[in-house]
Amino acid sequence: MAAVLILLVVNRWAPARLSLPVAVIFTLVVSLASLLYLNSFDLGRRAVRLWFFLYLVSFEITAIMWWAYRRPAEQSRRLSPRWRRLLIGQAVVYGAYGLAMFFIPQSATAFWPWPVDGFHANIYSAVFFSAAAGAWIIRREAVAIERGTFGLSQLVLGSFAVAGLLIVDI
């Protein structure tokens, strides 16, 4: 939500260079997970049809926009080797964990503080794939708005995940 709001206000290639591919990956993974569990959905319910409509249409439109507006990275600041290593490390760890959540969901979520079934593990993997993609895209260079978008997205995700756990658990 934070990344989309920044893109809505700025409406320029920076930060769309970061936000559009991340959105494409998120909606693609959620759509794939939903299609894999298609038998678990009651397609007679309006909410189910809306679920598939929103994700599949969002995926298509975001992918078209990404393709239509694609440009090379602009004159942007090269990140220091330390930041580059950190972002590559984040991309590798998040990407590997996303793969584990998608392909071996029960093992990958065994340590979670609440039970996670295969469908939800597949859905949650979209968050890790998206974060991995974001870190990978800006690993070499990024303008300020892209660094801010990525940082704010992680701040919101991390703080609200912890806050949600505390609110439910206390």
Binding site: L8, R12, W13, F41, D42, W51, A68, F119, F160, G164
Partner: protein, 47 residues
């Protein structure tokens, strides 16, 4: 710099819709989970 970055003329209407859906969904899931979670995600619980 963002100021020299080209604008994306056809993106804003779509992103506005996505932002509205995300705001309603996120605020609903976080602050009104008892209202939202029975409807989301729309999958039959494993039993």
């Amino acid at each position: 710099m963002p100021e020299t970055s080209p604008s994306l003329p056809y993106l804003r209407p779509f992103i506005t819709l996505v932002a509205l859906i995300l705001i309603v969904g996120s605020v609903g899931l976080f602050f009104l989970p008892h209202l939202v979670t029975p409807r989301w995600p729309p999958i039959t619980p494993a039993s």
